[in-house]
Amino acid sequence: MVKFRYTKMAYADPDDMVFGHAIYPVFCKNWNIQFGAGYVVPEVKVAPRPGTGDSLEKLKAEHEKITRDACDRAAAIGIPFFMIEQEHVFQQTYNPKWAGEITALQAAIIEEYVSKYGMKAALRQTVGDIRVAEKPGGLRESLGSEYDRRIAETVEECCRNGASDICMETMGGKEVLDYGCMRQDIRAILFGIGYLGSIDMEYVWDRNVKICSKYSTNPGGETNCSGANTLMFVAGGLTSHDFPHTVAMMGRAMAAARTLVAYECGAVGPHKDCAYEGPIVKAVSGRPGAQEGKQAVCAHGDIMGNTIAAVCDVWSNESVEYHSEFGGTTPAVWLQATAMEAALMNTAIQTGQAKILRDLYTLTDRYRDPQGYCLSYDNAWRIGKALVEYGKDIYLRARAAALEAGKIMKEAHEKREVVLTRFELDSLERAMAELEAMTTETSRWVEKCIADYKRKVPNFKPENYGL
């Protein structure tokens, strides 16, 4: 159950938002680190190599390297604090015992360095959402989902074995979102992300928060990877022809409404780095967030890699495969990359220039693409504001966020601040019109969606959402 709904903005003025500072900083049980407490923490995330998932031994050896190489580099260049995030591969979440042993190993290595050098550190475990809608039991343990049962066990194992915080990237609504993504069907996108996604979030995070509290592990938060990131990814670069960036941005705005649910269930932040909806989420919640951008080029292309740094509290490389570069192995290289950027932000904070640097980041990609424009903290705040007006209704708030994003993009186009292509503009106008035409009676809208998408999307099973 959610404990409350956001109906007010945490930040009264967007100008109060700045990197390294959150209204509700977060303290970690181990290694003395804080988030949003006046400094930006660099994060590194490295994926194990092909084949290493074959056995626990191999996977442990790989995680030992990842952790050690990162800690070593932290000492070598004088990084004062950092977070190592481990995103589980399938095998890790599927085998709770593996997840536990690997967490314990990573925690022990960090402990070794902390006691030698006295750095501040954190170990984030991002448990994989291995549930598959079309498999027996679907998304719910109560329906007999073996996958879901294992997820809960894995969360517990990670907490027990020394994780500083737990994150997830849940998949709720993904089947409908995917359908909408491929056909640019804005209603499917809204139903998938805003409605089904939010329902599933509540299910998962209510449980996560309960498990975490047993071990004083922080329930971190979410990202709408399965929805908004999929849209952003398929939308691609300026020269891609797969999905309009304007509509991807509307999906992103809806994602904020969904990502907030983790906090409404009691998660404390920082949410996950790939949540580009972060600035909206922070504006509404005042909680610290992780972001990725300019230094996540290893993981994916990005056309707002500076802008998105403006109000971050953790700065991440997203994810890179373990391998060697001339400059070291990837955990070393990419921790250094994010740490150097975090150091720049922390210098700005210490010299009283944080807002200047924030605005430089913001302006750099603000006009490059409609997504960067909307995720600039001032516009993000506006989207948040529209969202909380309908904060109690998961459908209406997601819709309001999307509409506000659409409005912002149209204004930008009219002011010639971000000139849109025909495709971007047409798609935007069509999506706006469809959204506006939707009924504001939630139950009627939901009924219609269920009926339609049950027919159109074979994997969509309302019972997965208690519907």
Partner: protein
């Protein structure tokens, strides 16, 4: 904002898409459509309805046409031509993915209508089995491959995502497809592919195994037999056509760019 407006953004970025994508012209007037569309009616209208992705119009036109024309002609001379134009529009950057998707949906609806009249399924160009590796939930790439292949007239057995090796091998044994595709986006799931290749080989099955997805690289895919790297989903029909003409996985490794008609690393975005 504490900072002023930017004087000149040309020194920061350039929106090449805006600079390149000229004014909107109706699709009917693009060279791609003009070139591909049939001249006579009702084929022309049928094809155009597919191009526009309008399922309702397609259905009504097909029903109308079925009164006087053979179902197979409707498909081949009408619907399929429309889809050809859509392919060309996508390739030239005029059409975007969702346009293709809705056009494909419209065409499929039309074909289904024709098949109803025929009383049986139409003959497909060939059979392809598609899947996403075990433990991997990332299926958008695979879905695109399936869509492009179906739109091009192939019979696709879609095994879905998170598919165990055995299921894949059994499907190949049972369905005897001309081509097997695999998609994997994670370093830890992709290792299923060489195992599948091993099993198929040990059963004496020599089938091209097109593997794609974020985590893979050409080098890696070529490290096991049968495998060749698939860069972009929209390459699938051209690859299938080439396989139909007898190209094997060894040729496809070398002639990939030639076959698909473009250079792509298949990495990023």
């Amino acid at each position: 904002m504490v900072l002023p407006k930017i004087k000149n953004t040309d020194f920061i970025f350039r929106r090449y898409n805006v600079e390149l994508e000229g004014p909107a012209i109706p699709v009917e007037e693009t060279p791609e459509v003009k070139g591909a569309l049939p001249k006579e009616e009702p084929y022309k209208s049928l094809a155009l309805a597919v191009v526009k992705g309008d399922t309702d119009i397609v259905l009504s036109k097909v029903k109308d046409a079925l009164k006087t024309i053979k179902p197979l002609d409707i498909i081949e001379k009408g619907l399929a031509k429309g889809m050809d134009a859509v392919g060309a529009l996508y390739a030239s950057g005029t059409y975007f993915l969702p346009n293709v998707m809705v056009a494909a949906d419209a065409m499929m609806a039309g074909i289904a209508e024709c098949e109803k009249a025929l009383g049986k399924a139409t003959e497909k160009k060939g059979k392809v089995v598609c899947h996403v590796a075990e433990g991997d939930p990332h299926d958008i790439g695979k879905n695109l491959v399936v869509m492009f292949l179906r739109a091009a007239g192939y019979d696709v057995i879609d095994l879905g995502r998170d598919v165990p090796i055995e299921t894949v091998v059994d499907a190949v044994k049972k369905e005897k497809p001309m081509w097997l595709t695999g998609t994997a986006l994670m370093t830890t799931t992709m290792s299923a592919f060489p195992k599948i290749s091993e099993k198929l080989k040990s059963m004496g099955i020599d089938i091209p195994f097109g593997c794609g997805g974020g985590a893979l690289s050409k080098e890696w895919v070529e490290s096991f037999d049968l495998g060749f790297f698939g860069a972009k989903a929209h390459h699938a029909p051209k690859l299938a056509d080439a396989i139909l003409k007898g190209m094997g996985w060894k040729d496809l490794r070398v002639k990939y760019n030639e076959v698909v008609g473009e250079y792509s690393t298949g990495k990023g975005w």
